[in-house]
Symmetry: none
DNA sequence: ACGTGCGGGACACCCCGTTAGT
DNA sequence: ACTAACGGGGTGTCCCGCACGT
């Protein structure tokens, strides 16, 4: 009983977020329509407004909850405790590129990068949240590389933070390339170019 | 008479494009307002629709003319006939990053990349034009690298196309990083990470 | 020919104002619906937006044009050149009260006073325009009284500006009384109380 | 227990009314937001609807309780048993005008008059309640004047009801004038014009 | 070639009220 | 007695594009 009301509310909130994600992912934040999101979620606009103070708040929640989880699952978790970060980073890129290519759908790029490019200069709240995610990303990659250096799987003279910056930056570029080229070969080739660079960091 | 009329017409067309560029650069294509563009150009909306069939056509023309020229001047021309491409690419990145950092304004990223991220998945005409520009970019960089290999300034075992892909992709990533971090240091650091990578390609 | 376009435009603008007046008169400015106004005028909302930058601008124009003319015709013109202002002011009150009572419709009060009560504290632009009208009103009444003093129809020891203030203030109060009482007798009695006061100002 | 519960309930009801008064006073009844009122009262909307059947009922209660008390304290009580009504009415106007002027805040007029102007033509329930208050007001002033006539402080040939009507009507007008002019001098001058009129009613 | 008037539609916002639950 | 989730509707704004007319 006590669980019913609160649980139903959270479920509806989640339904809205789940419906908002693809809508915003496809059309961008500004062009996304709250009407469409509400319709996709099977929710009235009143309910949407009840759960989120406005479009901005919905976008913030999307970043803080959905996109952050997306990032954690796809990019951060695989490196959490690795002793051979170069291999795991390479694997991570190859796997994610492979999945995107295999899905065959129109390449929509990286959800986080999409929001970053569109909203960072327009809304400080967005920018802060996005920057926090990218900073965490770079931090985790750098930490993994340091662990690799201690484990002897990464050259000691490599600069973990510089490499981490380039890895994350390359992720942006690779998916951006895929988006405008719609060419799986080119995207794969871009990924391999990065992997080759990483290969050179082995002892 | 005839030449005057035609010249005036072209000038007005150019005024519209020049006004459209910052408007679209700042707000994105979809969020940009034709009213605002016409007002900024000091032109009636009738004139705008006379010169361009619609918003889409204006965007296409912007890409084909303004953005293409922008790309040529800032990134392609410096590599046109170089015999030491690595140095020139490094210089190019450092100069462009330096200018952006020095300008001190809110970082709006790369105009071409902005349109690529926003419009590539939504409009095939945009995607084609954008892809054409990026392909040319990669091609010119690859050619410059080959020239460097022949001149002995680039290691012979480097893959010109792979490196070119990574160079262009890094440009996307560096400016994307700058946009969401608003951190000149980070952006500079990212540029240096790329320069270090290029340094390793010298014989 | 040359007159056609501009004339049609002005006619439509006037249609909108004419439709806006009763809508705002009845419901107040804030509660008035632009949808309803556009529908009553037989005009699309796009056209409405073309002629007036927004609801506020429509309200301003209504004050500056329609209400100002209303005031001039009903209250200012009759006193324009009178030499016996007390009689003319009394006649003016009696006539206007009589018309309102005879119309039999629900008493909606004075359009200017309605806007004054609602919008003066909320919007400085409204307040300024309203104050300008009331100031002109008081000024014209005071001038008429001075003319009467020179003509010997008004006691010389009367204070024209003080009396004018009370006359205008009474107009507000009389129509306010009529609105809430919906009692023609009471409204007439209020008018007569003012007339009696004015009567005491004769030499 | 029972008394505690009932007392708490009444206290909450009062909190709502106390929060509703300024909100409606400032924005008008129609533009006032129940959400804002509930928030200002620190009460959930459910509680609000528990105590009042709807917005209308809340408005009625506000008139019947808060505004009526306001009227009684500021305007009726001072005349309750006076034998020199003219002086007391003058004093009442001067004090109330003085307080409003001294407060220095944006002049929001008379709460009762505000509701009268806005709601009288729109809602019969409002109109009835407002009319009742104004009728009582006029009645009390007339009675005080009659008392003055009997006490010899008011001329015997004055018409108590006519004068009372003009007094109340002037109150409306004076505060209306203050609202749109935002000019303390003008408001004071208006009050003095009324006081001068009353002065002429002394024997 | 260029300007104006105008149309239809979509947008985010947010309101008031009810119902299911505590 | 009181709360929170939720529904449906209406708001002002403003956009893009067309059809005139100059």
């Amino acid at each position: 009983m006590t669980v019913t009301q609160a649980a139903r509310s959270d479920a509806m909130r989640q339904r809205i977020l789940d419906a908002a994600f693809p809508e915003i992912y496809r059309n961008g934040f500004q062009a996304a329509s709250l009407n469409a999101i509400a319709a996709a979620a099977g929710v009235s606009k009143g309910a949407l407004f009840h759960h989120f103070a406005g479009k901005q708040a919905l976008g913030y929640a999307l970043l803080d909850e959905v996109v952050a989880r997306f990032l954690r699952d796809r990019w951060l978790a695989p490196l959490a405790q690795t002793a051979d970060p170069l291999s795991d980073i390479q694997a991570c890129f190859r796997r994610n590129i492979g999945e995107d290519v295999a899905s065959g759908s129109v390449p929509l790029g990286c959800p986080l990068n999409n929001l970053a490019q569109e909203m960072s200069p327009l809304d400080e709240g967005f920018r802060t949240r996005i920057d926090r995610l990218y900073t965490a990303w770079r931090h985790d990659v750098a930490q993994a590389l340091e662990r690799g250096q201690r484990a002897g799987t990464v050259r000691g003279d490599a600069d973990p933070r510089g490499v981490a910056t380039l890895v994350v930056l390359s992720q942006m570029g690779i998916w951006g390339t895929g988006k405008s080229s719609q060419d799986p070969v080119l995207m794969t080739q871009a990924g391999e170019a990065l992997c080759a660079y990483l290969e050179a960091l082995r002892p």
